[in-house]
């Protein structure tokens, strides 16, 4: 029993939700799916605000963007036909790799974002898809996903309300791929990368690369992406990029893996993800 929780609210409007979490006392947080929050049993939390009645479950697209409501479950991202088309299936596939089915049935897009797990495949895919997030913190605003994650080294406060995530529509000649290092096929990734490329002929128009397992949250490698802007996509470019990636960052050293191993793996994962994304873009 999560004994500290004395109040449960299920507001019907976003204003009510905001008012509830804006209170100083009791300590109130937002409840999405709960797969992370309920497992924590944080004894400082006294009230929860369930977001399920706020019409935040939706997947809509127009010519410019695909909009995903924050309470959309991860399993919906696996199955929904519109999501399966995005980035050559990158987001749907990443969602399927991210957790077991029973967790995916309940975990939400917004909750996944708020937790910001360093190797979250969903977040990697969204970063590679240049996702933008609509949040209320402290007022309504839109922000790029990587900026939001890097602004919050710990978890996003469970008092920040995420409304939706949207992905700009991609042109046809694009492809996306995920590459991971995992001790077993279903163990947590040690290091992973997602890549998206948009091509024009043999030239790479845009590349986006996201990396997990290196920082507190997944990160986007914008400096490396710049190397690909309107460049012919070949092995030289790839190895230059891999070298640049290796040099750029600090690599954590812990009981799962050493810094040296992570450094070596990042180069390989980025190369493989880009290679596979390119091959998919060619097939399109």
């Amino acid at each position: 029993m999560w004994s500290s929780v004395q109040e449960y609210h299920r507001p019907k409007s976003i204003q009510s939700a905001l008012r509830l979490i804006g209170r100083v006392q009791p300590h109130t947080v937002l409840l999405a799916g709960g797969t992370w929050l309920v497992a924590m049993h944080d004894p400082s939390i006294q009230a929860v605000v369930d977001l399920r009645d706020l019409d935040l479950v939706f997947i809509k697209n127009n010519s410019q963007r695909l909009r995903l409501g924050a309470m959309t479950t991860i399993q919906t991202l696996v199955e929904h036909p519109l999501v399966q088309k995005v980035g050559g299936g990158l987001l749907a596939k990443a969602s399927q790799h991210s957790a077991q089915l029973s967790t995916r049935n309940v975990a939400t897009l917004g909750g996944t974002l708020a937790v910001g797990d360093s190797t979250s495949e969903v977040l990697l895919a969204l970063l590679a898809l240049d996702a933008q997030v609509v949040i209320h913190s402290p007022i309504w605003r839109e922000t790029a996903l990587d900026a939001l994650l890097s602004d919050h080294p710990a978890h996003l406060s469970p008092q920040v309300l995420i409304k939706e995530v949207y992905i700009p529509t991609l042109p046809a000649e694009s492809g996306g791929a995920l590459a991971e290092v995992r001790p077993t096929p279903r163990d947590h990734p040690i290091v992973n990368a997602a890549a998206l490329v948009v091509r024009k002929g043999r030239v790479c128009r845009i590349a986006r690369i996201a990396l997990g397992g290196i920082a507190p949250h997944p990160i986007r490698l914008r400096e490396i992406e710049a190397m690909f802007f309107y460049q012919p996509f070949d092995t030289n470019l790839l190895s230059d990029a891999a070298e640049a990636v290796s040099d750029t960052m600090n690599y954590p050293d812990d009981s799962r893996a050493s810094a040296a191993y992570r450094r070596a793996m990042v180069a390989i994962m980025v190369t493989r993800a880009l290679q596979e994304a390119w091959e998919m873009a060619i097939k399109e």
Binding site: M1, R182, P183, T184, S258, Y261
Partner: protein, 797 residues
């Protein structure tokens, strides 16, 4: 007329089938009989310890130590006691200190008596500091938080080698701990020291044309039974203490706890309901002692259940070991001498320290023919969660090292790995040179090998996995993934069927009015299917349906003694008792039926729930029951028998593995596993296959993904199921297994064990397959991506 239960001739005839039937002709033995309790469990019926609650029960919780090594200087429980809803708060000051071992084993206990219910010193992060009983689990947790403890922190030993350093702190410096003389050396942090030798090592190595040495390391891993440790205790209306517990050793629990609780055995009753997995982790007295003490203090029923976090940090685990082999080999590829030196840690308490490591020696050195053998072991205390019994019991450790070592030798000699082993593995008639010295804490019983199907296991397994593909360079490459390499590896395996001369089980069988039978035995089904196997044995002898055998087991008041579920003894030993009891009952039935049918009893046959004359005249078992219970010369048709075996009847197996190694990342993917077993006559092939499937998965985790990781000050880093990875359904390799038909004269219907041998092989087979794939030899597990990657980097320099 009585005969000794351990009469060798009797035991050697255990394999006889009733009426001289062949395996194919038997009705239920050897058949895929559905488990008696499977539907009950598939329907979700209440069956486990926590499913039956006395009317009012208190909840017990333990305060665990945050320090790996410390003295409790002061402990203030006043606030905790004052909390409404709290019925008891106990510390070391409240309990008369009686040192015991948590290891559930036979008398005399071979594990050191080094544990108190509550002690004034803590020796690992997770060790007990205090215990609380309260109205709800939440109140109990709150009470724990109100207990104020002042510790004097002591230096910590985590690494095995550090325990033996001259300046190492003594972990068990108490005056009242005890163990076997010459074996138990606590002042040196040694929980068990043992040396055994046979033949002459000097001449053995002198005969050798090459000598090979290797050092191998295996990690501390967890059972991860899905049901945590759980126990409910209460005082019944006769003021007897009743313990209902998820335990593999109900009789040992009663005997071991009696002096600790200050109660005579006769005032204690232990009941084992259905268990949700144990794998050796429940061959321990882990909660029963403290739960019972809380009941005795409060006078009320108390329930205690571990959380998963407690399962990781405060339960038991597999002994990690450093193994050194030194093997002398003659030019013809035969082994002339072998030494195994073992250094292990048992963690903070010595449960199973002598016997697990002793078993490593007694199996690893018994697989290959060699008259000159030396075994040396030291098991040290460290400030880690204690190790204890875990499925395989020292053999997964030993066979990992041995089978990688054998593969290395084969490579050096330029021999096929299978061929080198074939030249050396044991044959019928061989006697294990160290059998007498390594008898699990007592003198052992050397006797010749009477059955082996190892050659067939290896031959069929090699064919199934496509062993010849190793010679095909094309096969090693994976199209479109130039960084992947394929490889094949194998291991041959040996284990035991019970502990000769020590393990004993009893069975009691009685006939009911309708011709059904109640079968009572102490044997402990923990999901192994023992209840069904034992019912099958009785059913085969009695000629009745398996459903006509009503099983009740593992209740110290109502069932005969059984040492419990460990050492792969249930089919071989407990099954022997059931067979004997059934044979006696069959004889009594024939006596009654003979009078009814006016035919000499020895001419009668039990078949299809009836008794038939040679002319096929018959009476039903029901008619016999009514006759004997109610009509003439009334008596209860019943029998009570025991069985203990001095015989050596090891099962054998062959494990094959196919892997794909990513040469850039070091990731290893096991694609296929093939396992062949010789377990003599399988009593229930579904049961044997089930044991193989689960055991192999455990061995797969051992080889690839599982390891308890600690900080320098003894904290467990990955004590949860997210960070400690157990294989899931959607990442398993393709598995094929087969059972070789065999028969050992010392087992019931020719059966040998099958329960533990499947945990021995995947780890060495996959490490050998990695070598085959990329020419890199790991000598430790798990084969994590980084370890493989580092080995590749090193090799390529």
């Amino acid at each position: 007329m009585s005969r000794p239960y351990n009469d060798p001739d009797q035991m050697l005839k255990m394999s006889e089938h009733p009426e001289g039937l062949s395996p194919d002709e038997m009705r239920v033995v050897g058949k895929r009989v559905p488990r008696l309790d499977a539907m009950k469990l598939a329907l979700g019926k209440p069956a486990y310890t926590d499913d039956f609650m006395p009317p009012s029960v208190l909840h017990g919780k333990i305060l665990h130590s945050p320090h790996a090594h410390a003295l409790i200087k002061r402990i203030d429980t006043s606030k905790a006691r004052a909390l409404p809803g709290v019925h008891a708060v106990l510390t070391w000051q409240d309990i008369k200190p009686v040192r015991f071992t948590t290891a559930g084993q036979s008398h005399p206990l071979p594990s050191p008596l080094d544990t108190l219910i509550l002690d004034s010193k803590v020796r690992f992060v997770g060790d007990r500091v205090a215990a609380v009983a309260a109205d709800t689990p939440e109140i109990a947790e709150q009470a724990l938080a109100l207990i104020k403890v002042e510790y004097e922190v002591l230096p910590v030993i985590v690494e095995i080698e550090d325990a033996l350093k001259l300046d190492a702190p003594v972990i068990h410096d108490e005056q009242d701990c005890s163990g076997f003389e010459g074996v138990f050396l606590p002042q040196k942090n040694i929980a068990a020291h043992f040396v055994a030798e046979a033949g002459s090592m000097a001449s053995g190595y002198a005969e050798a044309d090459c000598i090979f040495e290797g050092e191998y390391r295996v990690p501390q891993v967890q059972h991860v039974a899905l049901e945590p440790h759980v126990c409910i205790t209460w005082l019944d209306e006769d003021n007897r203490l009743v313990i209902r517990s998820s335990t593999q050793v109900p009789f040992h629990v009663r005997r071991i706890l009696a002096p600790v609780l200050g109660l005579p055995d006769k005032r204690i009753r232990v009941i084992k309901p259905r268990i949700g997995g144990g794998f050796g982790g429940k061959q321990e007295i882990l909660l029963e002692d403290i739960c019972a003490t809380l009941t005795l203090v409060t006078g009320k029923a108390v329930r205690m259940e571990y959380t998963r976090a407690e399962e990781f940090s405060a339960a038991r685990s597999r002994h990690p070991q450093i193994l050194r082999f030194k093997t002398g080999v003659r030019r013809d590829g035969t082994i002339s001498a072998m030494t195994l030196s073992l250094l292990a840690t048992t963690g903070a308490y010595g449960s199973h320290a002598l016997t697990v490591q002793g078993n490593t020696g007694s199996k690893a050195l018994a697989l290959y023919r060699c008259p000159n053998l030396r075994f040396e072991m030291d098991v040290v205390y460290t400030n880690r969660p204690p190790a204890g019994a875990m499925r395989g019991y020292g053999v997964p450790q030993g066979l990992f090292a041995l089978e990688v070592h054998m593969d290395e030798i084969a490579t050096e000699l330029g021999l096929d790995p299978i061929e080198f082993r074939r030249r050396n593995w044991v044959q019928i008639g061989d006697v294990f040179a160290l059998a007498e010295a390594l008898g699990e804490g007592r003198k052992g019983f050397p006797n010749p090998l009477r059955s082996t199907g190892l050659a067939e296991c290896v031959e069929r397994g090699a064919q199934m996995i496509g062993w010849e593909r190793r010679r095909d360079p094309e096969w090693r490459n994976v199209p479109s993934k130039p960084y992947l390499r394929r490889g094949l590896g194998m291991a041959v395996l040996i284990h035991g069927s019970g502990i000769p001369g020590i393990d004993m089980g009893g069975a009691y069988l009685k006939m009911n009015d309708d011709g059904s039978f109640n079968l009572m035995f102490g044997a402990t089904d923990l999901g192994t299917g023992a209840d069904t196997v034992l019912a099958q044995i009785a059913s085969e002898v009695l000629g009745c349906a398996v459903e006509d055998i009503i099983v009740y087991a593992a209740d110290t008041d109502l069932t005969p003694f059984d040492k419990g579920a460990y050492a792969s003894s249930t089919t071989f030993v407990s099954g022997g008792a059931v067979k004997k009891a059934a044979e006696k009952v069959a004889a009594m039935i024939k006596n009654v039926a003979g009078r009814m049918l006016e035919t000499p009893p020895d001419k009668l046959q039990l078949e299809d729930g009836c008794v038939f004359t040679p002319d096929r005249e018959g009476v039903t078992l029901r008619e016999v029951a009514l006759e004997s219970l109610h009509l003439v010369d009334q008596h209860q048709i019943q029998a009570a028998e025991s069985h203990m075996s001095l015989m050596y009847a090891p099962p054998f197996a062959a494990q094959f593995a196919e892997v794909e190694v990513d040469t850039q990342t070091g990731e290893v993917r096991v694609k296929r596993l093939v396992f062949g077993i010789d377990c003599g006559q399988p009593i229930n092939p579904d049961g044997v296959e089930g044991q193989i499937d689960g055991g192999m998965s455990m061995s797969l985790g051992y080889g690839l993904s599982e390891e308890m990781l600690f900080t320098a000050d003894g904290h467990l880093l990955n004590g949860n199921l997210r960070d400690y990875h157990v294989f899931r359904a959607d990442e398993m390799p393709r598995i094929e297994r087969f059972i070789v038909q065999g028969r050992d004269p010392s087992g019931p219907f020719g059966a040998k064990a099958a329960a533990e041998i499947p945990t021995d092989g995947v780890a060495p087979a996959l490490v050998n397959a990695i070598y085959d794939a990329i020419g890199v030899r790991l000598r430790l597990i798990p084969a994590t991506p980084e370890r493989v990657w580092r080995a590749i980097q090193k090799e390529s320099r």
